[in-house]
């Protein structure tokens, strides 16, 4: 039962993730799709041309020019700073509202609903046969520090980012314009401050976690077995298919949010407004993608599954937990299982799951 429910959940989660991925591919990764079809530019008459037939005061062509994004003479030219009205801005605004905010909110609400429903129906995934009292070292001190740095930053960025994204629609009715302006100001400052820190943190996460997160043949089996849902046991080494996907998902979308975020923080280094608009939409879409998966990951890491969290806090996991969820890794590391929990924590801090010299063959 427990086994089936575990993997049943993974499958549901996976489906949701696929849907988001599809959404992203559809809208997210094509600049033109996000920024919308551009109005074809018409040749605008040169208003400085005195030979033209209009009299003084006939500025309709000038206004038409401005409306069409024709560069004007401004005190600080450069990039597209001399474009006084950029029509695509309206489309950006519309896409942000109609696509990102609308579908983004739906995806997040759906994921939360599915998880809540699952939790109500099946409850927490317990360790089969209870705890063994033996622990196996799993994550090094550095891995844990890196993981929690990323986790802390992503949680803070998600909260502040969501306030910026959906706050207007959801918070103003609750706290009023005045209240929201305070919260939004705080959220923006916080988001801008913590954003850049995510870059080194993600790089560190890549370096410390990439080992073991490469896809292998066994992952396809895992997938075909629906993570064990269709009966039988889905085997995995240190990380299962779902975890590996989370790792790469976070890395790839992390790259997108970091790159687009940097662009928005330092607009001077970007080609111009159209790019920024694209960056903003890509940022928001990728952010929704990360948040959606993160909700599932955080659920499983905390209340969703007994025995998972301690791997990331103390660095050690219960032997029975390992056998159930990472059987092949368990078999490789079973010789390190010990009742000396304090000793195992020290070993984990220094070497993670690397077996001491001379162990094994």
């Amino acid at each position: 039962m427990a086994e089936n429910s575990t993997t049943g959940f993974s499958k549901t989660l996976l489906t949701g993730v696929m849907v988001i991925l599809a959404l992203l591919v559809l809208f997210g990764l094509q600049p033109s799709a996000l920024a919308g079809e551009l109005p074809t530019r018409q040749k605008v008459p040169d208003i400085t041309d005195t030979s033209r037939p209009y009299g003084p005061g006939d500025l309709s062509d000038m206004w038409r020019g401005i409306r069409m994004g024709e560069p004007s003479s401004v005190t600080r030219p450069g990039k597209d700073g001399d474009v006084l009205i950029q029509s695509e801005g309206g489309q950006w605004q519309a896409r942000r509202g109609a696509l990102i905010i609308k579908y983004g909110s739906m995806v997040l609400i759906a994921i939360i609903a599915v998880i809540a429903l699952y939790f109500m129906l099946f409850g927490r995934i317990r360790i089969k046969g209870g705890r063994s009292g033996l622990v196996i070292p799993r994550f090094t001190l550095i891995q844990r520090v890196v993981h929690w740095s990323v986790a802390l930053l992503i949680v803070m960025l998600s909260l502040s980012g969501l306030i910026l994204l959906v706050g207007r629609d959801s918070l103003i009715p609750v706290m009023g314009r005045e209240g929201f302006s305070i919260v939004a100001s705080a959220a923006m400052e916080g988001h801008n401050l913590f954003g850049p820190l995510l870059i080194p943190a993600l790089i560190a996460m890549f370096v410390t976690f990439v080992r073991g997160n490469g896809y292998r043949l066994i992952d396809i089996k895992w997938l075909f077995k629906g993570g064990g849902f269709l009966g039988g046991h889905a085997s995995s080494y240190k990380y299962n298919f779902g975890e590996k996907t989370w790792f790469w998902w976070a890395m790839v979308l992390g790259l997108v949010v970091c790159a687009s975020g940097v662009a928005m923080l330092f607009p001077e280094i970007t080609p111009g407004r159209r790019f920024l608009q694209f960056a903003n939409l890509a940022h928001a879409a990728a952010a929704i993608g990360i948040i959606a998966f993160a909700i599932g990951h955080i659920y499983l890491g905390t209340i969703g599954m007994e025995g998972a969290l301690e791997g990331m806090t103390k660095g050690t996991v219960d032997k029975n937990w390992a056998k159930e969820h990472h059987d092949l890794w368990h078999d490789e590391h079973v010789q390190a299982a010990t009742t000396d929990t304090a000793g195992a924590e020290v070993a984990a801090a220094a070497h993670g799951d690397v077996l001491p010299e001379g162990a094994g063959e």
Binding site: L141, R144, V145, W148, S149, L152, S181, I182, S185, A186, M188, E189, G190, L193, F194, P196, L197, P200, T313, K314, G315, A342, E345, V346, A349
Partner: protein
């Protein structure tokens, strides 16, 4: 009295008084415990040793840097960032020169501010995460370590959230967290900002007279 008047008036006065009197009291009380005179014959100057220790012990030495590199980097990032923010951030400079010392005080440019803030946060987060995960630091830590770190983090966070300086509410929120921090400070391990010099002075003096300051 409005909330704002209360926070900026009596509460501020109270927090500042507790902070100043508390810190002074704690330092004086430690000194008043006294210590017996050292009757051994000095080989070298204890004063020089003390001065050297206070000033130079912050510089990693003794060939152990590879063992303590994590603390050295994150510790320096946090503390240097924090000091820069405390004494050189524009709003603080305004505050200090308006209310405490009325001399012109240079504020740092915005880019320096951003670097300082990022360094301070990164450093504090790294130190604290290690405190939570390292068996050695877990063994040593007590509730005071956690409360002190959280209060400092909140003071920094609310400070940054108030950065637009366009909302009284956010400014007051920062002030309140800072005031709580100030009231907690003298009674806690945050006092290390002052006691570090006392500890180093004693070691420096004791070993200075032996001819080598560790």
């Amino acid at each position: 009295m409005t909330m704002q008047q209360f926070i900026e008036g009596p509460l501020w006065t109270f927090a500042a008084t507790v902070f100043l009197v508390g810190v002074a009291w704690r330092i004086v009380a430690i000194m008043m415990i006294g210590k017996p005179k050292d009757l051994t014959v000095a080989k070298s100057s204890s004063m020089a040793g003390a001065a050297k220790s206070i000033a130079l012990h912050s510089v990693p030495h003794g060939g152990n840097l590879s063992r303590t590199i994590y603390h050295v980097i994150s510790g320096y990032a946090f503390h240097l960032g924090l000091f820069a923010l405390l004494f050189l951030a524009a709003p603080h400079v305004t505050f200090i020169s308006e209310r405490i010392v009325t001399v012109p005080w240079p504020a740092m440019p915005r880019w320096a501010f951003i670097i300082a803030a990022e360094a301070a946060f990164a450093g504090l987060i790294l130190l604290y995460l290690r405190r939570l995960t390292d068996p050695i630091m877990r063994q040593l830590s007590d509730w005071d370590d956690h409360v002190g770190t959280w209060l400092t983090f909140l003071a920094m966070l609310t400070g940054c959230l108030a950065l637009q300086e366009s909302h009284i509410g956010l400014r007051l929120f920062h002030m309140v967290t800072v005031q709580v921090w100030m009231i907690y400070f003298p009674f806690s391990r945050l006092m290390h900002a002052f006691t570090f010099a006392m500890a180093r002075k004693h070691t420096g003096a004791t070993y200075g007279r032996r001819g080598f300051t560790p």
